[in-house]
Amino acid sequence: MEASKRQPEPALEAKGISKAYGGIVVLDDVSLTFGRGEVHALIGENGAGKSTLMKILGGYVEPSAGELILNDARVRFSGPRQAEAAGIVLVHQEILLAPHLSIAENIFLGRELHYGLFTDDGAMRQQASSLLASLGSRLDPRSTVADLSIAERQLVQIARALSSRHSFVIFDEPTAALTPVESETLFAVIEALRQRHCGVIYISHRLDEVKRLADRVSVLRDGQLVHSGPARELSPTDMAHLMVGRALGDLYPHKAKSEAAPVVLEVQDLNVAGRVQGASFTLRQGEVLGFAGLIGAGRTELFEGLFGLRKASGQVACDGHRGSVFASVNQAASCGLAYVTEDRKGRGLLLEKSLAQNLTLSRLQQFVRFGLIDNAKEHSALNRAVQRFDIRAPRLDIDAGRLSGGNQQKLLLAKTLLSDPRIVVIDEPTRGVDIGAKQQIYKLIAELAAAGKAVVVISSEMPELIGLCHRIVVMRQGRIAGLLTGDQINERAIVTLATGTEQQAA
């Protein structure tokens, strides 16, 4: 075992791979060897070229120069199906499933099992079911994908990848949407793949995961390979330094004290049918209140209910409003509340519209003169936002979809904060965001609190909650399971409350 780990047979080799899009080089002469039976982590900031390299290996993109060698033979993929036929499968970071089809139909989409002329639904359901079971999930293969949470959809994608014959599995940030418990299941799957002598290529921003899982670590920066070596020689801090190319300060800003500040929001007995039951909490001025819990615990639903984005009942009291939950985002905004969705691409930004149009979308009335939109005013607002939030774009007239994940997130924050809300709810503030942007977002959250705003952070990353929040509400199965403050805040306490493994007085 140890011997095979040290000297894996070179099975998949990238030789001198380069890729340029219209003159912009995203990969520059990268050579890497991926062995079978090892977990090879690929790390780098957003825009470093990881995803492009993965897409080349997975057959989605053809390289501008260089070659791929699989089992000593040169291969060329002109599409993902050819790569799949060669045993290389890619688990996408984005959810690429047909929402109205069932889980089983999605898993076998494009390569349905058939029985003469007809699809063999029974066999597909059975195989889907056993695949899901091997991933530790008890999802019914007949359920519709549209009804699943993001984490559950991610599991379906993994099941889909593993349903074809595979010798290499590429995971592109698989845990970005998963809770710690779900991540553990995935890690077990990866370990099983390694035992079965599969090659695993693993992309993640979570360096502690990389440290734990990987045999080898390769670091990309600005399209170039800057390091490749055994994982045991690198600490997560070393990895971060290699990625960024400079030393990082403390990831989390200093937590300012928040005591005895007035309550700015009081929510009582909030219910969302089937999702949230009897949730009550208070929010104080100048604090960062965390919401922890497993996926499906009802955190997002609670706040979507509060903001009138789904049907909900309950009592709300804040400056300017006393009564039932808000009827619409607009009503909440007029009381100084703003919500940043976890689904940046699907619900937060218009990816095919310009940065300025995205920035001002929910506050257009501020930019109107004589009934018409004042473009000059809009552009000066964009310039200010780019300055304040450090949004990095090659040009300011590009579409939002062309920004990297971190810069999209900063644009979304800028859009939401344009109304200068007193209460900001940020759902998964750093999902799919590189470490440099993460640090900036953490600093921004701390600054908001220091400026007297009240901030709610919903997150599935426990270090983030622990590093940022003054108090943490933990939810479990639609109910508030407990509240942690001060010294009580630690991973163990959160997991205990989130999973209900130990009885604890709330």
Binding site: L309, S328, V329, N330, A333, Y339, T341, D343, G346, R347, G348, L349, L350, L351, E352, K353, Q357, L361, S362, L364, Q365, V368, G371, L372, I373, K415
Partner: protein, 326 residues
């Protein structure tokens, strides 16, 4: 060097419908000496384009927001029928004032039809395709009932008073062309420069993002159908004086022509992008094809087939343009 810079500035995607129009006009002038004349191109073709062009401007709003209105042809027939019936029943003491009242009635009918479509789509949450398919059938049937299965006409005297609205010229431009330009200018201002227009594009681009941004989606959608109704009414006001009557052929296939003009003009069928001037170019483009074919003595029964083929080719070219940058 200078040329390439100019070419880069010229956005090929946005200007494609207009370039196609220029090419088509160049082609037409080769085919027939009478084609490239003011009397043919402006007095004849552009004036005849007016009805479809104005309706297509309304359809640009509906489609940019992700909707669809199949009822515009029947709506035009019904509105024209209602207007003619009104004019007929008071034509004894009729004059210019009566015609003005008839125009107001047409606008009210158009707005109500649009409001109905909008409410079925938003309040009733019915797919626009189905909702407006329903109202298409309803309105066509109502018109046939009003006309008692035949046609409706205003008296020759009244027609003489009303006719200049279609045949008249102001500053050498036919009134219908002038109306198209004014409606187009107002529509472009609304779609590109007002918060409402921005909201239309946002809703068409991604309804969820619009909802999470606090936009009242139902109001935006409802208004696009009302705008469509208003545009149909304006088209009817220009249509009635042309022949002074309406019959079962009135408005037939107008919805298809309007949708074609909108899509050829660069508006996305799935919403999120709307091009008012492109729509006008698209409407003109379609009419010019017919005109060139007529001038070059192509069998009239085949004109539709050639038009259809050219539309498909135009869309293939457009798709090629949009794919390149991805």
């Amino acid at each position: 060097m200078k040329m390439t810079a100019l070419f880069q500035r010229l956005n090929l995607r946005q200007s494609a419908p207009f370039l196609a129009l220029v090419l088509l006009i160049a082609l037409g002038s080769l085919v027939h000496p009478n084609f490239l004349t003011y009397s043919n191109l402006v007095q004849n073709v552009a004036a005849r384009t007016a009805f479809i062009a104005i309706i297509a401007i309304g359809a640009t709003f509906v489609m940019a927001s992700g909707g669809l209105d199949l009822s515009v042809g029947s709506m035009a027939a019904f509105t024209a029928g209602a207007m003619i019936l009104f004019l007929k029943s008071y034509e004894a003491d009729g004059g210019a004032l009566l015609i003005a009242e008839g125009m107001v009635l047409a606008v009210v009918v158009g707005l109500l039809c649009g409001l109905f479509n909008g409410l079925v789509v938003t309040w009733g949450r019915i797919e626009p395709f189905i909702a407006t398919l329903g109202s298409m059938v309803i309105l066509r049937s109502l018109f046939t009932w009003l006309a008692n299965g035949g046609s409706l006409s205003i008296s020759p005297d009244l027609k003489d008073i009303y006719a200049p609205v279609y045949t008249g010229n102001v500053f050498g431009l036919p009134i219908p062309v002038l109306v198209v330009l004014v409606v187009g200018a107002v529509a472009a201002l609304v779609l590109y420069k007002t918060p409402f227009g921005r909201h239309v594009l946002a809703v068409g681009s991604n309804e969820e993002v619009a909802r999470y941004s606090g936009i009242a989606i139902w109001r935006v959608k409802l208004l696009t159908y009302v705008i469509q109704g208003l545009c149909v009414a304006i088209a009817v006001i220009l249509y009635v004086p042309r022949l002074g009557s309406a019959n079962s052929a009135t408005g037939l296939y107008w919805e298809l022509q309007a949708i074609t003009a909108v899509v050829v003009g660069g508006t996305l069928l799935k919403g999120g992008r709307g091009r008012i001037w492109g729509t006008l170019a698209g409407a003109f483009f379609l009419e010019i094809i017919g005109n060139i074919l007529t001038l070059s003595n192509v069998n009239v029964y085949l004109i539709g087939a050639v038009q259809g083929a050219i539309i498909i080719i135009a869309m293939l070219i457009q798709r090629g343009l949009y794919r390149r940058e991805i």
